[in-house]
């Protein structure tokens, strides 16, 4: 079995996040209504990193939340329930521009579940999507507003994002065959 390919190393990941942060700033004139909501696992840590960079650009804190979408998935009766993570959204989402942050965009179903879950917390004025990697193969009409890297993949491949926040020795995005 071939070793996994490194598609993004630590420097590339941080550069991509910096560029995404600048793109978010460019797209959103009114910085006071922007909030980041990360989807575990991976998206939550990326959202925290983005918030730090954005706070530097805008000179004010940018609120960050974590949204676990497990209860809103559309495949709950066809697979064993995945592990759940806490949802913490320490601000009102109503009226805000919520930027959902995820590590990998694939079928789009996680994003759909996230939008459903987010609606249970209030009515955001708009929702944007930032992902580190878009691997193609969308099954729903969903697209990311901000993308770190486009990586065309085959269906039998898997992308894993290792981050130091989760205990990995270094940041790495890996592509491997299943």
């Amino acid at each position: 079995m071939p070793a996994p390919t490194v598609i993004l190393d630590a420097t590339a990941i941080q550069r991509a996040l910096t560029r995404i942060a600048h793109e978010i700033a460019e797209r959103n004139e009114d910085s006071s209504v922007v909030a980041l909501v990360g989807i575990p696992t991976g998206g939550d840590h990326l959202a925290t990193r983005l918030s730090k960079i954005l706070s530097g650009i805008w000179n004010h804190p940018v609120p960050v939340g974590i949204l676990d979408v497990t209860m809103h998935r559309d495949d709950l009766d066809r697979r064993a329930a995945p592990q759940m993570h806490p949802t913490v959204i320490p601000f009102d989402v109503t009226g805000k521009t919520v930027v959902l942050v995820d590590d990998v965009l694939f079928s789009g179903r996680t994003t759909r579940a996230a939008m459903d879950a987010l609606n249970d917390f209030g009515r955001p004025k708009r929702i944007q999507l930032a992902v580190l990697i878009d691997r193609g193969h969308r099954e729903l009409p969903i697209k990311a507003d901000f993308v770190g890297k486009n990586v065309p993949t085959a269906l039998n491949e898997k992308i894993s994002l290792l981050l130091v926040e989760s205990g990995a020795p270094k940041d790495e995005a890996l592509l491997k065959k299943r």
Partner: protein
């Protein structure tokens, strides 16, 4: 570890990892109950039948609310229903309900083993809400959840279960769950209600309350099961209360951090003094809140575990 069981019939057949999976999942569902919108679509379109042949208010309401908060459709079928009076067997009742494409049957019955029987004759998932004096799995799960939330762990804790053990399904389920998770369990009550044979399950059996609760981290009080006792097991309620009831004086002899639990409904002034039931060391109302979260978790996990297992993508 992922939950792959189709039913929840008892704690006896669960591994410690499976119990912990339920507790971890319940934590997320407890948070749902604190939001403005207390509902998630996880069981949307599924039908749950609450088949309560033995009367219950609190457990049935707890299950019903759990089911509704998961967006399931709920049917309540209770002992007053006429078909039982007309002599319909349990199997036929259940089969009829299944013909309505019920996905889950939550059953409480006075006969031990009724849920196990149903699980063999039905396609639906069966959840035991209390069968005779045998087991009450969701009670034990909410009890262990409550203890873990308050004390941070189960292993190594001293838990004393006090009262009518012999006729108590709660005691049996608690005993299984606590011993599987590594707690030190002491059973205490009148010798007529707490036979020594229980020691075979890996706990201590005592008949002296003060001794039994002295080193306890948790004191779990059980009600006298009038409806299940065939003969009177002690001379009078008064004598039970004097010898085994938890009052202020007894409570003062426990460790400062010892907490009090009771599955409910409480008999104020019998197994528990009125002011103790309401004091800051009592977890009784939290148990009710946690019961809702645990039942949501159980339904959620069984929903996932019973179907064909697809592997999720990225």
């Amino acid at each position: 570890m992922p939950w792959t069981k189709k039913h929840l019939l008892d704690i006896e057949s669960l591994t410690a990892e499976e119990i912990v999976t339920v507790l971890d999942t319940a934590r997320a569902f407890k948070a749902v109950g604190e939001r403005t919108i207390k509902k998630v679509p996880a069981l949307r379109g599924k039908t749950v039948v609450n088949l309560f042949i033995e009367p219950s208010t609190r457990t049935r309401i707890s299950f019903e609310l759990a089911e509704q908060r998961l967006s399931a459709d709920v049917i309540n079928f209770s002992t007053e229903a006429s078909s039982f009076k007309k002599g319909e067997t349990l199997k036929d009742t259940a089969r009829n309900l299944e013909a309505l494409n019920a996905d889950f049957i939550v059953i409480r019955h006075s006969a031990s083993g009724a849920p196990h029987f149903l699980s063999r004759v039905l396609e639906a998932s069966v959840i035991n809400a209390g069968d005779g004096a045998h087991e009450h799995p969701t009670q034990a799960l909410l009890d262990t959840f409550t203890i873990r939330e308050k004390k941070g762990k189960i292993a190594g804790l001293n838990v004393t279960i006090l009262g009518d053990i012999l006729y108590s399904r709660v005691a049996r389920s608690d005993l299984w769950a606590l011993t599987k998770l590594g707690a030190n369990v002491t059973l205490c009550g009148p010798s007529t209600l707490v036979p020594k044979t229980f020691e075979r399950m890996g706990c201590r059996v005592m008949h002296d309350v003060d001794e039994a609760i002295r080193d306890a981290d948790i004191v779990n009080l059980l009600r006298i099961q009038h409806e299940r006792q065939r003969k009177t097991m002690f001379p009078s309620i008064n004598e039970y209360t004097q010898l085994f009831g938890l009052n202020k004086e007894r409570l003062a002899k426990t460790r400062p951090g010892a907490l009090i639990m009771h599955p409910g409904p409480i008999n104020r002034g019998v197994e528990i003094d009125s002011d103790i039931a309401d004091c800051s060391r009592s977890l009784i109302l939290e148990q009710v809140t946690n019961g809702l979260a645990v039942r949501m978790a159980v339904l959620f996990l069984i929903n996932g575990g019973k179907g064909p297992q697809e592997v999720a993508g990225n």
